[in-house]
Symmetry: C2
């Protein structure tokens, strides 16, 4: 897909990328499970304090070597966007569900996933803002999949009913393209397939990104 | 504030609540720091795998005693909503920023907070969906603060510019109340005070919650 930002190029072999996915994807998934256990635990205070101290020690070990600042986004040599830090889909982000998003190749994106108590708002229900977070990501991926990557310009969501925690799915598709504005429609569904939230988004490639693209005599080649 | 749901009542002394905040709030904050360190670490694979094994062991210790299912929401004996599991503000939720939200008492809510790389979308910028997640929570708190608690009915956001990661603030206020619909306006600001996102939300108390409230001859007393 076209890159709307001036991404770094990752120069790793496929084997290195696969190993990174196994090791650091595995670390991140373990931390996700720790998050959920932290939320639900009822161990006594002494145990909780001992575990807190051990967590602090592990954090210090991880911080012994780290990148500066946020994770950022890069492009692989094969031209794939590498959003490992992304708050919704990031392989390396413990907050990410993570969503595994499928794409049609012509402007449609969808995903099935499970939301646990970490995503709760009203009792037993998905937080309304979490639904917005997920739909924003899927809407943007639908726009990009149709060849129109951009940033969220507007997002309008209608909440039809509560979304119970558990299995959910979401889907988005390009409705129409109007100059620099790509209109996307989409919806969230609960485990029974009921539409719980309907949405409309407009995605826009920022002017500075358009200028950057225009300044490139030839598209970047990722080789 | 009026309780829109049939919450459990927490029967803890103020001292027990304070101790729980210190111990389990502390555990959760340590896990938040582990999340951020996990995202940014560049330790070698052997270290990452050893740390993963230690995290899995801590998760097992936390799971030795835990509540069933999601955290839920309760009410203290003083009538305070206790949303410790909430995805945005929850003391016990490692995903929560957590936002500390201030309220005017007449339908206005605001918060200042810092968003690190765990909340990234485009490089160096807050994920557009994270902005939606935060505004949804603050909008709902403004509605509740004005005596009109409810669930998100619609949420409309206009993204004026990217929100850089770092210090941010958000504010929301009741614009008008139209029967069961409470209209809320609000905005997100960056560290320099620029409005980055403007929003409008309609919050609605679900019919089943209105019926439940109407069925109570007298308001619940939390004592």
């Amino acid at each position: 897909m076209a890159a709307p930002f001036n991404y770094d190029i990752v120069t790793m072999t496929p084997e290195e990328i696969s190993e990174e996915r196994r090791v650091f994807g595995g670390l991140t998934q373990s931390v996700r499970e720790l998050n959920e256990a932290t939320l639900r635990t009822t161990v006594d205070a002494a145990d909780a304090e001992a575990i807190t101290a051990e967590i602090d020690a592990l954090t210090a070990r991880l911080r012994a070597r780290q990148i500066e600042g946020p994770f950022g986004v890069a492009i692989t040599q094969e031209g794939q966007v590498r959003g490992h830090g992304n708050a919704v889909v990031g392989l390396r982000n413990p907050h990410a569900v993570p969503l595994v998003i499928e794409r049609s190749g012509d402007g449609r994106a969808w995903s099935s996933f499970e939301l646990n108590g970490l995503f709760e708002g009203p009792p037993t229900l998905v937080h309304g803002g979490v639904t917005a977070l997920i739909l924003d990501q899927i809407f943007g991926e639908a726009a990009a999949d149709g060849g129109h990557p951009g940033m969220t310009g507007t997002l309008t969501l209608k909440y039809r009913r509560g979304t119970p925690l558990g299995k959910c799915s979401a889907e988005a598709w390009i409705d129409r393209v109007d100059g620099v504005k790509t209109h996307v429609l989409g919806e969230m569904r609960d485990a029974d397939g009921n539409v719980t939230v309907e949405g409309h988004g407009i995605f826009i490639l920022p002017r500075w990104a358009r200028e950057q693209q225009a300044a490139e005599a030839t598209p970047p080649r990722y080789e």
